[in-house]
Symmetry: C3
Subunit: 268 residues, 3 copies
């Protein structure tokens, strides 16, 4: 921190198990990746090379190394995993990760319909060689999954070997755990939290209001993902209570600033 | 491409006549232009220096050279053409392009009311010296042009010498070929396509849903414009079917991923 | 300017008292700050390090120097001032500004409830040592302040020593002087302007439609703030009338482009 301010919450530090932030890189150039690292390497835990962008981004290998050397975990978006899977290229996918020197993988079924047992087998298989995140929730708008199903799937995926389970929202933030207007499915989320430890879930929260909602509900050290590169620092100010929306989160209740000022005056 | 994946559509390669992508540069610095080139020079065909931004952007000449050296065609936004025209400075405009070493021009009437014959004469005049794009459609919200008029204007402008005709949408994507909410004017577009060959049209499509709509209708090699620099790579993943929204476009019908996996298992 | 165009309004030049533009920096890296300076140092008057981002942005001191060396005034967002104030750390705040070599400060009460007399005392106190901007308006949606109260507060704050008063809108542009949908509170703004000289007000206007509205009402040299870095050049094109929305602002009334062209032809 650049200066001292009282009543700032304790943040976990890297490598984190809670309070993770995952950034969505959807095709940054090397220099743009360096910009992110320069301003935020202490804040970013994971970078996801979103959907199939790794197929066409130039200097891919150099970018992966750049992130890893800055202590940031890199992985490829789940949609690419699904693209390999549906083409019968599962083995190619694992070879690709090894070739790229990537130690983390996402197993998802946001675009395809996968038997859940098969998904768990795939997680189990991947988890032997990779730190594996798995994602629950469809990418399609209007698909409603029953809260019990969410809970059971997340539980089974963690048992199958997932390091964290990701709650789907897309880059846009209007499916999965959110309504089409972007507001949180409150009852769904609280039912999930009855069963799954909160530190085991990474919530995709691309919109600011969604980040605020989760921080207000679950505290500064909630795991959040799909953050745009230029929203990293603003997100951290939300976590720390130095932005309007979370300003009072760590202050004593009913603090009256006028009395604080009067008191300071009297002291002089 | 960084790795092999089956069922990826064949993309045209530069210099393209179809499958063009036009990026809107609304004041990038030299280094930001280099970032775009580094990540996407193989994908970007045209860069438009949007509206009148070229009037005030520093290092304009250097930026134009930078793009041209990377094999990217640069031109100035149509609004600037109109700004010269309405001031009686048409000759100054042509001198400016020559001075800047720009070989491509846009003739438009999005902000002014121009007799269509006069517009076609201007296209004819410009086309003698420059690769000329012309744009159809008003920038004003709520202005409805009859589909027959769209067809006739586009036809006449191509005959007058336009290389491609641009269908107007603005940076915001809510006028011209789109409704105020950004959704496509489906019947207008299909009527245009009855008469005008699709490769002769460059559709402005700044919003992701608009890009998806055109790719789903007209395939991976549709001409799209007004793309934001950081949306170039995501757009290419849509074209290639490695993003959720176009995931199944090039896959065999009714493919069952569970059967694909079972089959792969049995092989072992 | 890169070339000559008639009927372009006279812009003030730096250091400006009117026609100011304030950019919101919410965590730019050093190189991103350099990009902004390269493309726009002649256009940017003020950079606000938004809310509490200065607490965690790396290379803070270097970035401040970078801006200052480019002739840009830097200050810290008002929310951070309030964060110090409510913690009884007002003196620490002034020490911090001195340590950072910052000569400008914002006094605001967007997140806290401050007696207005106390606020004016704080302005008076700060104005002894710093160029002081003060902000009027709550950050909370749905809070309506009576126009008379706006006028009186702005008047009193200027009398207390504010260099300019800022009309609150947040980064999102949907509170304070705007309705929740982002449109301007027209009657509120005109009532404010009955009493407060327009050059003494800095209007936060993060959305393009808001920038257009103020330029159309108050001219090219209106003071505007909370501009995103990549909207600096587009905003200047709005001011200069070389973008669709302000295209006719400085042209003679009822100009007919067809006649202009015909006239030019006849001359030859």
């Amino acid at each position: 921190m650049n200066f001292d301010l009282s009543h700032i919450p304790q943040r976990t530090s890297k490598p984190r198990e809670a309070g993770l932030t995952m950034v969505m890189d959807k095709g940054l150039s090397l220099r743009e990746a360096e910009n992110l690292i320069e301003s935020s390497d202490h804040l970013v835990d994971l970078v996801k090379l979103g959907f199939g962008t790794s197929l066409i981004t130039k200097n891919l290998q150099e970018k992966i190394k750049l992130y890893q050397n800055a202590g940031i975990v890199v992985y490829l978006g789940g949609t690419l995993f699904e693209a390999f899977l549906i083409r019968g290229q599962f083995d190619d996918y694992r070879k690709l990760l090894n070739k790229l020197g990537i130690d983390t993988a996402e197993v998802s079924d946001g675009s395809i319909e996968l038997n859940h047992n098969t998904k768990c087998e795939l997680i189990h298989e991947m988890a032997k060689d990779f730190r594996t995140l798995s994602e629950v929730g469809s990418k399609e708008a209007g698909i409603i999954i029953h809260p019990n199903k969410w809970k059971n799937m997340m539980k089974a995926e963690l048992e199958a070997g997932s390091w964290k389970v990701i709650a789907e929202a897309r880059e846009s933030g209007n499916v999965g755990i959110y309504r089409p207007n972007g507001s949180a499915h409150v009852s769904l989320i609280s039912k999930i939290l009855e069963v799954i430890p909160k530190d085991k879930i990474l919530w995709e929260a691309p919109q600011k209001a969604q980040q605020v909602w989760f921080i207000n509900q679950l505290g500064a050290n909630v795991n959040l993902g799909n953050i745009a590169p230029n929203e990293m620092i603003p997100l951290e100010t939300l976590r720390l209570g130095v932005r309007g929306d979370t300003f009072f989160n760590y202050l004593p209740e009913r603090i009256d600033v006028n009395k604080v000022i009067a008191k300071a005056k009297n002291k002089k």
